[in-house]
Symmetry: C2
Subunit: 213 residues, 2 copies
């Protein structure tokens, strides 16, 4: 394994993306190149390159001669993205049930169990991270790289919004139950059932987040 090579702009992409997800950079906020550059300790060049990258991901908008602003989403945007996610995940679920090895499914089960533990102690941050990993893992198990990439792109845009959701205990419990059904369907290699619960999960996710928009 090659040692991790941290090209600076790659590092910056990650950092800025995290700042957007965590809300340090609020939606609609203008990104000041010089200022942010100083904050991150890099010059404007790699920062600008990172912003172009994030623009392509849809996390920031580039306005001519006025630089970058953090993209803000309307409720409809969110709903639309969830609909696409549902479509992609349902497709991935069917494939995963067919293509994944038993070992791979066991790994997802491992993620699921760890997530359940974090839920038990109400560790929202870790729960959330494991949750995202599970959804990503199902895409990966589909064996379709293009699918995985398309999913990752949309998921990253929704991260912030989904993190805000699940605030209420009942909602959180519901989400956990849906995940329980998911993992069972995957282990049973029942593609249709998995696709169905994934679609339902997205629909419910919408119900859980729409009030916060």
């Amino acid at each position: 394994m090659p040692i991790a090579r941290h090209s600076l702009h790659d590092e910056v992409v990650t950092r800025v993306r995290d700042m957007i997800i965590e809300g340090t950079l609020a939606p609609g906020a203008r990104i000041h190149e010089g200022q942010l550059g100083v904050t991150l300790g890099v010059s404007r060049t790699p920062l600008r390159e990172a912003l172009k990258f994030l623009a392509s991901e849809g996390l920031v908008d580039l306005v001519a001669s006025r630089g970058a602003v953090v993209r803000s989403f309307t409720p409809k945007d969110v709903r639309d993205m969830l609909d696409v996610l549902a479509t992609l995940e349902a497709f991935a679920g069917r494939l995963a049930c067919r293509e994944a090895t038993d070992g791979e499914i066991a790994e997802v089960r491992g993620l699921h169990d760890r997530m359940k533990e974090r839920y038990a102690v109400r560790d929202r941050l870790e729960y959330f991270k494991l949750n995202q990993q599970i959804h990503s893992a199902i895409q990966r198990l589909s064996g379709n790289a293009a699918l995985e990439a398309a999913h990752a792109s949309i998921q990253s845009r929704l991260k912030r919004i989904r993190y805000i959701g699940n605030q209420e205990p009942q909602k959180w419990q519901d989400a956990m139950d849906e995940h329980e059904t998911m993992i069972r369907s995957l282990e049973a290699r029942d593609g249709e059932a998995l696709a169905q619960v994934l679609t339902l999960h997205m629909e419910r996710t919408w119900d859980r987040v729409k009030a916060t928009l």
Copy 2:
């Protein structure tokens, strides 16, 4: 309407993307910043920014300290992308039948008729462009911007490969027939039929291109 503002890196993104699609920059070819910069008449900075953008689109790979290389796709990559496209287009087709106005559908019919004319005189380049426009238009008619963006991203990666396909008269005729069914289904607002033919079209597209990979 604000006059078109051509930020240089945007222009470069378009130019380089076209060079990749047209094959001027062959898959696997290394992109030499200085040299290409001179060719395009721009300095390295906007060119580098454009390359970061294209990397995010998946058209080039960035290798640390070695710059950018034009991404090359394996047959499986192509197959995978077509599968995702089929999924997205089927979804978009259903939505479009429900959401589009009669006027919008008439516009697609217009594109279709123009495409048929180009087919009649065997004008492959114009046929191809109109073909892409039709597929994009169906996404747009879905009213789901996230869907449209995800589709556009994959479609741009496949452009070059799909352009090479349809070389043989019979294949081209078949593709044309599928499009004929498409437009009829759309006009009848039969979402299921449209989804079905779009899926079929992608499957057939695979049959048409796989030999060239």
